[in-house]
Symmetry: C2
Subunit: 155 residues, 2 copies
DNA sequence: AATAATGGTTATATGTCTATAACTGATGGT
DNA sequence: ACCATCAGTTATAGACATATAACCATTATT
């Protein structure tokens, strides 16, 4: 059947995307990304901690955060952040210090070991699948451009 | 600096991919897919079950499976499959029956409610992000082609 | 100064999944 | 018939994360 009767040929610039193509693309993208979700397991095993803890370290990579901020970035609850930071501190990956301007706040900072662990986690997660590396240069360039487009939709 | 000194112009077809571009593309792809990982939560909340259970239903959508097969597809252990199927059966989403040729095996089949739930889960997960829908038709077509390429790398 | 609000901790209960061991019933090879 | 194997179940222990309530110290409000 393939009923394409309603295809409007006038609205070229604002054409509605082909739903089938969008679905195909989205499914393929999800499949590719989620297929090696065992990367999470690899991170956990490599660092000897739960993926969640590794995530906490990664969130601290840009710079120190208060417990409150870290809680928000991990999308969890305060008590669990306390628990996780306790553990990370005990293992020497982070340090707690009191905020100079507000003694209620604690500032969580990565130690040298913490930075190393966080970077290793990032490295593992950033490792692209083989098929991406094998892509033809012109396809990669096109993909690069389009993914940038997807990130920041043009006006 | 951008040192491209070693670029071999002879091996065009087997050119090494630009590592930066690959990294960018991969990061963008992961970001896009993982950003709405709350889809999982949406599925769980909508169906009133854990995402893992919803996943079990989805795996059964193509057709009935034995416990063993279902266990393999869920990448879990037999005892947990028993538990999950027990729960899904109690709630009326699946039914167990004995395999006609091998009475050791149980065949797990979706009920009507199970099919509906599984399809709803698929629908939620298949929903692409806005930016994909807004993509220019020619970009979408290119993306479609390249993603297909990524799925089954050419020889 | 009294009170409320905030950041963090402690304690506790629960849901979800992982991992093992031990068991039952059915099948298949000898 | 005997024994090994296989599918599934039961039981148990534990890791990990979620969710709440109660609490303390500090800061802000009045």
């Amino acid at each position: 059947m393939n009923d394409r009767s309603g295809t409007p040929r006038d609205a070229a610039s604002t054409a509605v995307a082909d739903p089938d193509a969008v679905a195909r693309v989205w499914a393929a993208m999800c499949s590719l990304v989620l297929k090696q979700e065992d990367r999470r397991k690899e991170v956990a095993e490599t660092l000897g901690m739960s993926f969640f803890r590794a995530k906490a370290l990664r969130r601290l990579l840009p710079g120190p955060l208060t417990m409150r901020e870290l809680t928000a970035r991990l999308a969890t609850e305060k008590p669990y952040t306390t628990l996780v930071v306790d553990d990370l501190e005990r293992r020497g990956f982070v340090e707690r210090s009191v905020h100079p301007d507000d003694r209620r706040c604690k500032i969580v900072t990565l130690t040298t070991a913490g930075v190393a662990a966080a970077e290793q986690a990032e490295r593992i997660l950033a490792r692209p699948p083989r098929s991406l590396l094998d892509l033809a240069p012109e396809d990669l360039a096109a993909l690069d451009r389009i993914m940038a487009e997807l990130r920041s939709p043009r006006g």
